[in-house]
C-alpha cells in the first residue's frame, strides 16, 4: 500500500478545516490524487450521534466514544484504505486522536 495519510488535529476553531482544505487545493493543483475526509463519517452513525448529542438526559460519553470508534472503522475500510491503495494522499479533518482527547472532559479517564 503506497500513499500518504495525514490527519489534522486541534481544538474547535483552531483552523484545521481551513488549513486542510488549503492543502487539498494546493496538492490537487499540482496533480496529486487527494482524498479529503471532513469530520463527517458514516452517515447512519453520524445521524445517531447527532440524535444522542441533542438529548442531554440520555447522553452517555462511553456510548459516544464507542460510536466514534465504529465510525472511524467504517472510514478506514471504505475511504482511507482504498485511497492509500490508489497511492493517494488521504487527508483527514480529525481522526481518533480527537475522540480520545475529547473524551477526557466528558468524564472518561485516559487510563
Amino acid at each position: 500500500m503506497g500513499g500518504v495519510f495525514l490527519a489534522f488535529e486541534g481544538i474547535d476553531g483552531s483552523g484545521k478545516t481551513t488549513l486542510a482544505t488549503h492543502l487539498v487545493d494546493w496538492l490537487r493543483e499540482r496533480g496529486f490524487h487527494v482524498v479529503y475526509v471532513s469530520s463527517v463519517g458514516y452517515e447512519p452513525i453520524d445521524h445517531v450521534t447527532r440524535e444522542l448529542l441533542a438529548d442531554a438526559k440520555t447522553y452517555d460519553p462511553y456510548a459516544h466514544l464507542f460510536l466514534s470508534y465504529a465510525n472511524s472503522r467504517v472510514l478506514v475500510k471504505t475511504i482511507i484504505e482504498p485511497g492509500l491503495e490508489e497511492d493517494g494522499i488521504v487527508i483527514l479533518d480529525r481522526y481518533y486522536h480527537s475522540s480520545i482527547a475529547y473524551s477526557v472532559p466528558l468524564g472518561i479517564p485516559l487510563v
Partner: protein
C-alpha cells in the same frame, strides 16, 4: 473466560432488581419468550423492562434502531467487523446507563434479549467463520474490550441466564419469515458456530436451558423461566 469482579460490585448495588439474560441463536425464540414472560409478570403487577433483541420500543435508543435496521437489511454484511463490535457495545453501554440501571434500582425485572453472552457468541462465531487467519488476534481484542468495559463497572452481570436451545433448521424458517433476507449456506454455518460458541461460554456455568420445539409450548417455557428468575429475586 471473563474477569467478573468488575461487575459483581455493580450487581450488589442494584440487588433489588433482577437482571436476566435470555440467550440463544437467531430465531431461537428469545423475543417471543421475553414477551411471554413480560405478559406473565404484568398480570402480577410486576414491572418488566425489555432490552436488546429485535424489537424497537418507544424507549429504545437511536443506536438500537440503527442496529436493528442493519440486521434486517444486511445482517451487518458490508460493515467492518470492528465497526459492528463497537456499535453493539455502544448500544449496550447506552442502554445500561439510561435504562437498565434506573430500572433495576426501582426493583424491576430487566429481561435482556441477547446480552453479553450473545455478544461474545455471535462475534466469536463471526471471527471463526469469516477471519480464521486472524482469529487469535481478533478473539484477544474481543476479550480485552469486553473486560475493559466490565472492569470500569459499566456492564452489570446477569443474575441468571435462560438459554433457549433450538435446531438450526427451525431457526432458519423463523428468520426467513422475520427478515427480508433468505438464509444462505454461510448464514446457517454461522448459526451452527454461534451454537458452539454458546456451548463453550456456558460450560460449567449454572444456567437454565429450555427447548424450543413442538413438544414445549411457549407458555410452559415462560412459566419455567419465570420460576427460575423468581428464585434469584431478593
Amino acid at each position: 473466560m471473563l474477569e467478573r469482579k468488575g461487575y459483581t460490585v455493580t450487581n450488589k448495588k442494584n440487588k433489588r432488581g433482577v437482571l436476566v439474560g435470555v440467550e440463544g441463536i437467531s430465531g431461537a425464540g428469545k423475543t417471543s419468550l421475553c414477551n411471554a414472560m413480560k405478559q406473565r409478570y404484568e398480570v402480577l403487577n410486576e414491572q418488566v423492562l425489555l432490552l436488546g433483541g429485535f424489537e424497537v420500543h418507544p424507549y429504545s435508543s437511536p443506536i438500537t434502531a440503527l442496529c436493528r435496521d442493519l440486521v434486517t437489511t444486511t445482517r451487518f454484511v458490508g460493515l467492518p467487523w470492528l465497526a459492528e463490535v463497537h456499535l453493539l457495545l455502544a448500544e449496550m453501554l447506552h442502554d445500561i446507563e439510561s435504562l437498565m440501571i434506573p430500572s433495576m434500582e426501582k426493583g424491576e425485572i430487566v429481561l435482556v434479549d441477547g446480552y453479553l453472552d450473545s455478544f461474545l457468541a455471535y462475534e466469536g462465531a463471526r471471527i471463526v467463520r469469516h477471519r480464521p487467519e486472524k482469529s487469535t488476534l481478533m478473539r484477544d481484542y474481543l476479550r480485552q474490550v469486553v473486560n475493559m468495559v466490565c472492569s470500569i463497572g459499566r456492564i452489570p452481570v446477569c443474575d441468571c441466564v435462560v438459554y433457549i436451545e433450538c435446531k438450526v433448521d427451525t431457526s432458519k424458517a423463523r428468520l426467513e419469515r422475520r427478515d427480508s433476507l433468505a438464509m444462505s449456506g454461510e448464514d446457517l454455518a454461522l448459526q451452527m458456530e454461534i451454537g458452539r460458541q454458546y456451548d463453550a461460554l456456558f460450560a460449567g456455568r449454572s444456567i437454565l436451558r429450555i427447548q424450543n420445539d413442538d413438544e414445549c409450548s411457549l407458555e410452559d417455557n415462560a412459566r419455567v423461566s419465570a420460576e427460575y428468575v423468581d428464585s434469584f429475586r431478593c
